[in-house]
Amino acid sequence: MEKEQLKQQLKKQIITFLNLMQVKPEDIKDDEPLFGEGLGLDSIDSIELIVLLNREYGINIQDPKEGRKVLVDVNTMVDYIIAHRTK
C-alpha cells in the first residue's frame, strides 16, 4: 500500500476507534499533533491508539517511551507502521 493511501486509511481508523464525531479525515493534518493541541486527544485515547495499532497492524507497543515517539502525529504513526507492521 502506498504511504499516502496508508495515511488516509489510518485517519479513518483513528476517527472510528476514537469516535471523533464531526471530524473528517481531511480535517486531520499529517503533521498536526495528536495530543494537547491539534486533535486534542488525551491519555485514554493513547491506549485506544495502541490497541488500534495492535489490532489493525499487528504492532505491539509495550514501552511507554516508544509510544511517546510513535503517537506524535499521523506521519510518525505511518512511518512506524511501515517499519513494524506484521499484518
Binding site: L18, N19, M21, I44, E48, V51, N54
Partner: protein, 346 residues
C-alpha cells in the same frame, strides 16, 4: 415525603424542551427510541465516549445540577448495557488480548451518577440503585431517608435506561416484547404476550422545600409478588392510608399491552374508587426498568398543566382539578410499586 422542583425528561416523546404531549411519536421497528437532544452542555471530547444511557442521564441531569446539590441518586435497571456487551464481545473477538478501556468504563451501572458527579464537581453523596424494575423506586426511598435526616438538603434524583441489543434481543426471545407490528394506538388492543420496548431518562430536584415546588411525592410502596389478589389488597391499604376518594383524581397505570400482566391491573382496578379516571403511559415511553420515573415526570406535567392528554385516558372522569395521582407500575409481573404524587397547595 418530599417535594419535586425542577424536572427534565429525555424520552421517545417531545419532552426535553417545548414539551408537547398532544403529539405522539411512534415506534421504529417496534422500539420507542428516545429523541436525544444535541447535548450542548457536554464537551465533545467527553460526549464521544458516552453510550446512550450515560448520554441521556448526564444530558438530562446537567439541566438540574446547575444548582448546588448535596448528592446524586440514580436508579437504573441495566445501566450502559450496550457498552458492556461491546466490551464482552471484545474479550471474545480479541481472545482476551488487548482491550480498550472506554467501553468498560462507560458500561458500569454507576457510570451515569459518577459522570454527573465528575462533570459538576459534586463530591457529595453519589449512589446508584440497580433493583431492576424497582431501581427508581429505591432511589426515591433513599432520597426520602436522606431528606428526613437533613431537611435543608437538595438531591438530584432520577432514573435512566436504554434499549440495548442485549436487553432487547434477550427480552424479545423471552416473550417480553411483541413481535407483531406495533403502533402507539394498538398496543393495548392486541391481546397477546409482550409489550413495546422503550427507553429514556427522567431527572428531578428533590428537597423538603415546599415553596416553588412543582409537586410532592407523598408516599411510595414497593413489593415483590406474583399474586394479583395480594397486590390488590396492598393497593387498597395504600389508598386508605395515604389518600382518600375525595383527594385522588387520577390513576396512572403501567398497563403495557401484555395480556399475561393484565390480571394485575384489572384486579387492582377493582380496588379503586368508582368513576376514578385511569390513564396509561406505556404507549408513550414503552416498557423498561425505569418506566416509573417517566410516569412520575408525566404526573408532574399533568399536575402543573392541570390537564390530561386525551390519548392517555382509559376511563375518563369529570373532575374539576387534579390534586393527587396514584401511579401503579408492574415490572415483569413480579416487581410492583405504588407512588402517590400530589399537587402543592399555595
Amino acid at each position: 415525603m418530599f417535594y419535586i422542583h425542577d424536572t427534565i425528561c429525555i424520552s421517545p416523546q417531545t419532552s426535553y424542551t417545548d414539551i408537547d404531549l398532544g403529539k405522539i411519536n411512534g415506534p421504529v421497528e417496534n422500539k420507542l427510541l428516545a429523541k436525544e437532544p444535541s447535548y450542548e452542555g457536554i464537551p465533545l471530547g467527553i460526549l464521544r465516549r458516552m453510550g446512550r444511557a450515560v448520554r441521556m442521564g448526564v444530558g438530562a441531569a446537567l439541566q438540574i445540577t446547575k444548582q448546588n446539590l448535596d448528592g446524586i441518586i440514580i436508579g437504573t435497571g441495566n445501566g450502559g448495557m450496550e457498552d458492556c456487551i461491546k466490551f464482552l464481545n471484545q474479550i471474545i473477538e480479541y481472545e482476551e488480548g488487548m482491550l480498550t478501556p472506554t467501553n468498560f468504563v462507560q458500561s458500569t451501572t454507576n457510570a451515569i451518577a459518577g459522570q454527573i458527579g465528575l462533570m459538576t464537581k459534586n463530591k457529595g453523596y453519589n449512589c446508584t440503585h440497580v433493583h431492576r424494575g424497582l431501581a427508581f423506586e429505591n432511589a426515591i426511598i433513599d432520597a426520602d431517608m436522606l431528606l428526613t435526616e437533613n431537611s435543608s438538603a437538595k438531591y438530584l434524583l432520577g432514573a435512566v435506561d436504554e434499549i440495548s441489543a442485549y436487553n432487547y434481543n434477550i427480552d424479545l426471545l423471552d416473550g417480553w416484547f411483541k413481535k407483531e407490528k406495533l403502533t402507539n394506538e394498538n398496543l393495548y388492543d392486541l391481546n397477546s404476550a409482550g409489550s413495546i420496548a422503550g427507553e429514556g431518562a427522567a431527572m428531578f430536584l428533590a428537597s423538603k422545600e415546599k415553596i416553588g415546588a412543582s409537586a410532592e411525592i407523598k408516599a411510595i410502596h414497593i413489593l415483590h409478588s406474583d399474586n394479583e389478589q395480594m397486590i390488590a389488597s396492598e393497593l387498597k391499604k395504600f389508598i386508605s392510608k395515604y389518600t382518600s376518594e375525595e383527594k385522588l383524581n387520577l390513576v396512572l397505570s403501567g398497563e403495557n399491552g401484555d395480556n399475561r400482566l393484565q390480571k394485575y391491573y384489572s384486579t387492582c382496578e377493582t380496588q379503586l374508587p368508582e368513576k376514578l379516571a385511569i390513564a396509561r403511559f406505556k404507549h408513550l415511553f414503552g416498557e423498561h426498568a425505569s418506566a416509573s420515573a417517566l410516569a412520575v415526570w408525566l404526573s408532574c406535567q399533568i399536575i402543573i398543566k392541570q390537564s390530561v392528554p386525551k390519548h392517555l385516558l382509559k376511563f375518563p372522569a369529570n373532575n374539576a382539578g387534579i390534586n393527587e395521582i396514584l401511579i401503579y407500575n408492574n415490572h415483569k409481573g413480579i416487581q410492583h410499586s405504588f407512588i402517590l404524587i400530589s399537587r402543592v397547595d399555595g
